[in-house]
């Protein structure tokens, strides 16, 4: 039986940037939707920075501890997943936001061991 390969840092980074683009191009109307998008963008930004650092650390052969901010960001994205999927079409997000988030969360889980 075929198993899903473990996502690499570049694959997870690409998923995170794709989600960032979807959120940046969204047009949320109202306090709740706009706060959800801003919070999700902030969390994706933290994850992207951590992935860049992890990639650099791997290249130089140095291990680095996962910061609490990354763990918090991943938790926040998990919590926002349902909300984003619900409001996705209303705020003009094109594409499968839940699928993108899943790819990002799976990658973070395996890279950061969260």
């Amino acid at each position: 039986m075929a198993t899903n390969p473990v996502p690499t840092i570049p694959q997870t980074r690409a998923a995170a940037q794709a989600l960032e683009n979807q959120l940046a191009n969204a047009n949320p109307i109202g306090a709740d939707a706009s706060a959800t998008v801003a919070d999700a963008l902030e969390a994706v930004g933290v994850v992207l920075t951590a992935l860049n650092q992890e990639e650099a650390a791997q290249r130089s052969g140095q291990m680095q501890a996962v910061g609490q901010d990354v763990t918090d960001a991943v938790k926040q994205l998990t919590a926002l997943k349902k909300q984003l999927a619900q409001i996705g079409s209303d705020i003009g997000i094109v594409g499968d936001v839940a699928g993108g988030l899943d790819a990002l969360l799976t990658g973070c889980g395996s890279i950061f061991k969260i």
Binding site: E20, S34, A35, A38, E42, G45, N52
Partner: protein, 307 residues
């Protein structure tokens, strides 16, 4: 009799000029022109780092506003995008290129290069230790150049700056430095990166996306407490942020182009070692000078807007 003496004197001057390879040689003149244009360009690259640092700082201030009521102000939460080591590495690479350009102009001239030696030696030493620094690894991480090759290029430039050179060695200097200068320019160019895949342009894009999202959320969260004028002003910031993002990204893209042009112009200078005329080089060096001056205008405008 007088005529013969004049001919002898002119011959002696010509022989001396050829031996010393002085400023009046076509190559010396070209090296001086390259030096001026290259120095102007490297100065502007530093401004690119400031633009990214500013957007990163703005995002942190936005985040502070969001959490202030619950978490207060923690100084740890305000950090530069590039750590001091990372910024120092980039600054030293640019200083190395700038010093190399100055050295070319100096060895092309008739003046003794002794005054410059100390400065070159100091920058050269910095370059040699730079290749082992963690800050340098952060520059190399976005590059397609292999880490060891990048470090060797930096070492080579450092060694060249530390060696005592004279005018007649100009062609050799150019030959030896062709690859290292190309590689250092490529390193800095790839460090600026791309809005989607990484580097400074990616950070800038993501920062502005966050600033726009935060501003929009701020308006919706506080619109009931705003006067119509206050709400209008808050809304007007949204397109301003969007335009600033596009302009700053264009400035970084232009900086990448200037670095690419610097390497191409240096290659062209190397190719003209034995040529009397070099129209292709003349065209490239004037383009490089124009690019440097345009970048200066772009970054001055960006800095004024920030203020």
């Amino acid at each position: 009799m007088e005529r013969h003496r004049l001919i002898r004197w002119c011959s002696a001057v010509c022989v001396l000029s050829m031996v010393s390879g002085c400023a009046f040689s076509p190559l010396g003149k070209r090296a001086t022109a390259f030096s001026t244009a290259a120095s102007a360009t490297t100065l502007q690259v530093k401004n690119g780092y400031q633009v990214v640092e500013q957007s990163y700082y703005d995002v942190q201030v936005d985040n502070l506003v969001k959490v202030f009521d619950t978490e207060g102000f923690k100084t740890d939460n305000i950090k530069p995008f590039l750590t001091p080591d990372e910024m120092k590495a980039r600054t030293q690479l640019l200083q190395g290129l700038q010093q190399y350009a100055t050295l070319l102009a100096a060895v092309s001239g008739n003046d003794a290069v002794a005054a410059l030696d100390k400065q070159s030696e100091s920058v050269g030493k910095d370059m040699e230790s730079l290749s082992k620094d963690s800050g340098f690894k952060s520059v190399a991480k976005n590059s397609t150049i292999e880490g060891g090759v990048a470090a060797a290029a930096v070492d080579a430039l450092g060694r060249e700056l530390m060696a005592r050179k004279t005018a007649k060695e100009l062609p050799t200097i150019l030959d030896e430095m062709q690859k290292p200068v190309d590689q250092i320019c490529q390193l800095l160019e790839e460090d600026i990166g791309d809005p989607q895949t990484g580097g400074l342009r990616n950070q800038l894009k993501n920062d502005y996306d966050q600033l726009i999202a935060d501003q929009r959320a701020f308006i919706y969260a506080n619109e009931k407490a705003m006067s119509p004028d206050e709400k209008r002003q808050a809304i007007a910031i949204l397109p301003q942020l969007w335009i600033a993002e596009k302009q700053n990204d264009a400035a970084l893209a232009q900086t990448q182009e200037a670095l690419k042009k610097l390497a191409t112009t240096h290659d062209a200078l190397v190719d003209t070692k034995k040529s009397k005329d070099a129209p292709a080089f003349e065209s490239l060096v004037s383009q490089l000078a124009v690019q440097g001056s345009q970048l200066s205008d772009v970054y001055s405008a960006a800095t004024k807007k920030e203020k």
